[in-house]
Amino acid sequence: MSMLPEIIIILFAFLIIALDLIFLDKAKNYLVPVTVVGILAACAVLIFNNSDTLMLGGRFVSGAMHLWLKVTFLIATLLVVILVPESTSENLKNRLSSVGEFLTILLFTLAGMMYLVSCQDLVTLYVSLELATIPLMVLSSWNRDDQGGEGAIKYLVIGALASAFLLYGFGLIYALSGELSIPAIMPQLTEGSPALYLAAALITAGIGFKLTLFPFHMWAPDAYQGAPILVTAYLSGASKAAGLVVALQIFYRLFGHFIVDWAPFVAVLATLTMTLGNVVAVLQENLKRFMAFSAISQAGYIILGFLGNTGADISAMIFYMLVYVFTNLAVFTVLIVHVQQTGKETIQSLRGMSRLNPGLALILMIGLFGLAGIPPLAGFIGKFFLFNVAAKSGYYWLVVLAVLNSTVSLYYYLRLVRQMYIEVPAEGDKPLKIKPLTMLGLGFVTVGMLGLGLIPYFYEQIGRDAAQWLAF
């Protein structure tokens, strides 16, 4: 029964909603621990009895590769859940309301992402994608204020547009191949008919929305800024990972034959996304909007992997995604603690953090350097392998551009470091208080950032699994 992890997550979702309804605010401080237990149980089941099985008549598959992706989602959600108590303590200004529903919706999106990984046919793919997207729209309006609402509406309008385009694309694919299960479609789509290109364009739009690629990323900054910072963390981490999974499924499993000659298009898309993300981030003042553009530029780096079509290229992308999720959550954890306790969201508000709580400042700095791709952090090694893929397929100009882009990204990450280390704290700033659970999360994430890169096991293992998954 390799679908056990997903089932556990859904059961816990219902358990949480039940506890909340029955015990009302008495159970308030038990909800988070229960969720954590649920996720850990799913993780345990996933890791220990993982076997290559086919279920539901070929609609659900699980194997070594899927383990990595699902673990990424589980950890991303776990880290966000750990931070929920930070946002709900009494003395905060913008407290997170109705924690029960929040956690339930979060678990539903997690289940959606896990199904996304192991789906084998377009129906499950479409439904789980929507399951992973629509609840996030709800979460992004959780603050119930103007900004939250506006962000959510934009997210919804563009999201709906994207899902309609995706659906229309799938329809055309179905028309061309007469099949809905992915392994069956692949052999059918060989020669490039106009309908196929229209379908590809529409699907790319859908994926572009999810992965925030250039022309389709407009919603991201506003949605990230409107949402509570906890949801922004989840959006930029787990949701982007889900986007990558969909992209992998489609571009390698559906349009496998065409990926090679679409490389120039991918290169252009990557350049535009990277450059726009980086350049615009230079002048951003609001932390959430800043992280939105940083996430957009990271998406630009990730799709560099699509320039190649061997196992190593896919593993480079997945490895980088894993590293990105860890690093991003490290940065967001500190930002969440800062924003929740000080209520201020501008970069200037980080002034003098190195003097008030040096530990937090150090971890934030390490995280930012990881995002910028500075050794010895895993970010550098991930980026190195991604650029290696681009270089292997001969796009040297793109590698130069990518590295120049990461230099620009270093500039705006250093703007934060400058505020923390060089500026003197404004008077009246008190050091931030950190809950033990958050401390644990921070420790785990920092070890992840350093360990993932230096210890070769992770990359090698992902490489082997990816080769085996691609053949499948």
Binding site: I153, A200, M218, F265
Partner: protein, 645 residues
């Protein structure tokens, strides 16, 4: 006795050891002790030099009467390439032994003299440290077996002269003078270095083929005949020798590069005596002498050397007549005598080596009486506390010993019979005559007269007549320790001339030495000298200075030009400050700050500008995002279509 040659390395070693000893340790504890140790070390190296000279000249000359050149001791210093190894060591041959003796003698006497002269100065220990460093580097230069070692110690000599000239570092003039000296000589050394590199570049292919033992830059290699013929074949020898001569001209203050020597008088007088009279300035002459076999193969370079020497000789003598500061007069007189030596060398050639011998002889004698003149002047300045000869006068009675020794030196330099100057100058004039170079002969004669004139001038103005300033009236005799060197030098100036020089220092064909050949040259020389002295007595000797002012007024304009050294200093000042600093250094500094740096800042500014433009895309309107979305899909469709091909 033979082992003295083997221990020749002791001669430069003594000053070096005492330099380190005093410099790092002793001078901090007791200044006096530092002075004593310094003098003792020079004494020891003087003794070694003397015994070396005796043993070396004791050896029998070989068949054609030439003395052997030996390299008793050397160690590998730098290994540039397999064929290009540079050793540091000692080379013993006639002129190096001669120079060793001269340098150690004068240095010892100057050290003794300085113990009296510098008593009570704050930087007493520091002074002796730098003096020892100078002596060490001068000896290192003299004994250099290869041209790279000469260059190394050449620079060290320049540096130590920089330190000594700038001894009174609180006085702005001294600092400027030391800086000027170093930079001008450094400019000349640039030529020297380029000359060496060109010589190496030209010689290396020949050297590599020949499989000769010893290294390319060694003098033994450079001066033996069949290597020379090979080198001449390359055609570049002339240019490299010219460049090397540029280095020599810089150090020996030949015409265009002479401006630093008069200003170098800002240093203490014993320093001027040692460095700017006897030792450092002759380094250039020594270098040309050392490479003489090479120079002789390029007659046009020698011709150039002789004419530059002659011009400097005359030029300096004329200026010396008009200077008021006693040390400036002596400085220009040194310039003039160096001109003598240089043009004597220029006249010589391998088969008529009389000029070479005469130049070396004049170097030998000049070292003594010029040092004596400077030390004498030092004693006077020490007593009168002013350099200006118009503040002196009537010191004959007040400072009898200084007066006597100064008189001997004046007579020696003017070339009066029993004194050293007569013999060496006469030999130079003889060489000019025999070589058929009449211009040089006449020029030399005139300058001899001028020399006598300006020397007598400062003699009469300082010693005769009545004291013209408070300082000179209270003048008292210099202390004993300063007088001993004066007397020793006076004796040497007397005896120096009689040394049978030609059978010690020789080169090329020896039978043409002809000690005092035709007799007209000595007569003419003495006549001109006496004439000069008389005329100077006539103008300055008779006590009333009105006469000198009358002459000065009559040739006002010309006199003014000469007095200001033909405005050469101002020309150099203009070139360096106005031309180079204003039109090169400042524009570069500005260019770097604004243009190159500006370009970098521009990229930063552009990024921020692009950022502010791109942010405008996020209009905030959900529906514009939708338009971007749909248009984006369209563009994607088109691009995918084109990648189909």
């Amino acid at each position: 006795m033979h082992d003295m040659i083997a221990y020749a390395w002791l001669i430069p070693a003594f000053p070096f050891i005492s330099f380190l000893l005093i410099g790092l340790g002793v001078r901090l504890y007791s200044q006096k002790l530092a002075g004593i140790i310094a003098t003792l070390s020079i004494g020891a190296s003087f003794a070694c030099a003397l015994t070396l000279a005796i043993t070396y000249f004791g050896l029998a000359p070989d068949a054609e009467g030439l003395r052997p050149t030996l390299v008793p001791w050397s160690f590998i210093w730098v290994d540039y390439m397999e064929g290009l190894r540079v050793n540091l060591g000692i080379l013993v041959d006639p002129i190096s032994v001669l120079l060793m003796v001269v340098v150690t003698t004068v240095s010892l006497l100057v050290h003794l003299y300085s113990m009296g002269y510098m008593k009570g100065e704050t930087g007493y220990g520091r002074y002796f440290t730098w003096l020892n460093l100078f002596t060490f580097s001068m000896l290192g230069l003299v004994v250099a077996p290869n041209i790279i070692q000469t260059y190394v110690f050449w620079e060290l000599v320049g540096a130590s002269s920089f330190l000594l000239i700038g001894y009174y570092y609180e006085r702005g003039a001294a600092v400027a003078a030391s800086k000027k000296a170093f930079i001008v000589t450094r400019f000349a050394d640039l030529g020297f270095l380029l000359g060496i590199i060109l010589l190496g570049y030209v010689g290396y292919p020949l050297y590599q083929g020949s499989g000769v033992e010893g290294q390319l830059f060694d003098y033994t290699y450079l001066t033996n005949p069949q290597n020379i013929t090979a080198l001449v074949g390359t055609g570049f020898l002339g240019i490299s020798l010219l460049l090397i001569y540029m280095g020599a001209a810089g150090k020996s203050a030949m015409f265009p590069l002479h401006i630093w020597l008069p200003d170098a008088m800002e240093g203490p007088t014993p320093v001027s005596a040692l460095i700017h009279a006897a030792t450092m300035v002759v380094a250039g002459v020594y270098l040309v002498a050392r490479l003489f076999p090479l120079f002789s193969t390029t007659p046009d370079v020698l011709e150039f050397v002789s004419y530059v020497g002659l011009f400097t000789c005359a030029f300096a003598a004329i200026i010396a007549c008009t200077q008021d500061d006693i040390k400036r007069v002596l400085a220009f007189s040194t310039l003039s005598q160096l001109g003598y030596m240089m043009f004597a060398l220029g006249l010589a050639s391998m088969d008529q080596p009389l000029g070479y011998v005469a130049s070396m002889f004049h170097l030998f004698t000049h070292a003594f009486f010029k040092a004596l003149l400077f030390l004498g002047a030092g004693a006077i300045i020490h007593a009168v506390h002013s350099n200006d000869i118009w503040h002196m006068g009537g010191l004959k009675k007040l400072m009898p010993v200084t007066h006597l020794t100064f008189l001997i030196a004046v007579l020696a330099i003017s070339g009066i019979w029993p004194f050293a100057g007569f013999f060496s100058k006469d030999e130079i004039l003889l060489a000019a005559l025999q070589g058929g170079k009449n211009i040089h002969f006449i020029g030399g004669l005139l300058v001899a007269g001028l020399t006598a004139f300006y020397m007598a001038r400062i003699y009469f103005l300082s010693f005769w007549g009545s004291p013209r300033s408070k300082g000179s009236s209270h003048a008292h005799e210099a202390p004993l320790i300063m007088l001993i060197p004066l007397c020793v030098l006076a004796v040497l100036s007397l005896v120096g001339g009689w040394v049978p020089f030609s059978d010690y220092v020789t080169i090329g064909l020896t039978e043409h030495q002809g000690g005092h050949g035709s007799s007209i040259v000595p007569i003419l020389g003495s006549l001109v000298a006496i004439l000069g002295l008389g005329f100077s007595w006539f103008v300055y000797g008779r006590g009333e200075s009105a006469r000198s002012d009358a002459i000065a007024a009559k040739w006002g304009m010309v006199f003014g030009w000469i007095k200001n050294k033909f405005y050469m200093d101002e020309v150099y000042q203009f070139i360096t400050h106005q031309m180079i600093f204003r039109f090169v250094a400042t524009p570069i500094a500005w260019f770097d700050r604004n243009v190159v740096d500006g370009a970098v800042n521009l990229t930063g500014w552009l990024t921020r500008r692009a950022s502010s433009i791109f942010t405008l895309i996020q209009t905030g309107q959900a529906q514009t995002y939708g338009v971007w979305f749909v248009v984006g899909t369209g563009v994607t469709l088109i691009m995918l279509w084109f990648t189909k091909g």
